[in-house]
């Protein structure tokens, strides 16, 4: 697996986009996630690891109780990697969601885990025969 992105909660999306643009990133994906009730903007600098800006879209948002700033680290699984049993064997935390559809990643499934230190990580699952998500240079995901 590899690091895919760092999730950052923001209450001011425009300001956050400007901040990361000044750091050399550009907006690659901008979607409303109806499953987690967040607006998601992926900021990319062409170096592999992206910044995921997460803005709570309503009262059901999964980040409604989080302060602005770092929220999670996300790993993308490789084909054939079993996140469920593999993670359980490590005994470093617990996966606490069912696979959730992620519109920001072309509808791929993700799960979240809480680690023993109380921090969160996300895994982008790679189902058999599935191509991994990549962001094109024209700024759109596919």
């Amino acid at each position: 697996m590899r690091i895919h992105h760092v999730g950052v909660v923001t209450s001011n999306m425009d300001r956050s986009i400007t901040i990361y643009e000044k750091l050399g990133y550009r907006k690659a994906v901008d979607v409303i996630d109806p499953f987690q009730n967040n607006r998601i903007v992926m900021m990319d600098r062409g170096e592999g690891v992206m910044i995921e800006l997460i803005w709570p879209a309503n009262e059901q948002s999964t980040v409604r109780n989080f302060s602005d700033g770092y929220h999670h680290l996300c790993y993308e699984m490789e084909p054939g990697e079993d996140v469920g049993q593999g993670f359980k064997r490590l005994r470093i935390g617990k996966i606490f969601t069912e696979p959730i559809t992620a519109p920001a990643f072309d509808g791929r499934k993700v799960v979240f885990a809480c680690l023993l230190d109380g921090s969160f990580i996300e895994f982008i699952l790679c189902e058999e025969g599935e191509k991994k998500n990549e962001v094109r240079n024209d700024g759109r995901s596919h």
Binding site: K88, G93, K94, F96, C114, L115, L116
Partner: protein, 90 residues
């Protein structure tokens, strides 16, 4: 799995949930003290680490574990269940 005491459950709940509950408050609804579903999962992970166990997903319902007493009872029942299973397989 390790045996469960109310004192240890209080310690874990207070540390992971950032609370300051005492045994006298064992019927207090922790959701009214700010424990939401995310804080709850942190408590669950801390309980699993403390008592060296895995709490089944079927028990991970906040409304069923929303007081100190209910958490203690859940953990104690899990311990009894684990011990029973171990005795059967011995």
């Amino acid at each position: 799995m390790k045996s469960v005491t109310m004192g240890e459950v209080i310690e874990v709940l207070n540390a992971a949930g950032e609370l300051s509950l005492t045994e006298e408050q064992k019927e207090t609804d922790i959701t009214e003290l700010g424990i939401d579903s995310i804080a709850f999962i942190k408590v669950v992970v801390a309980l699993e680490e403390q008592f060296d166990c895995e709490i089944p997903d079927s028990k991970l319902i906040l409304s069923d574990m929303n007081t100190l007493q209910k958490i203690y009872e859940t953990m104690d029942a899990l311990y009894e269940e684990t011990m029973g299973r171990d005795n059967l397989s011995a």
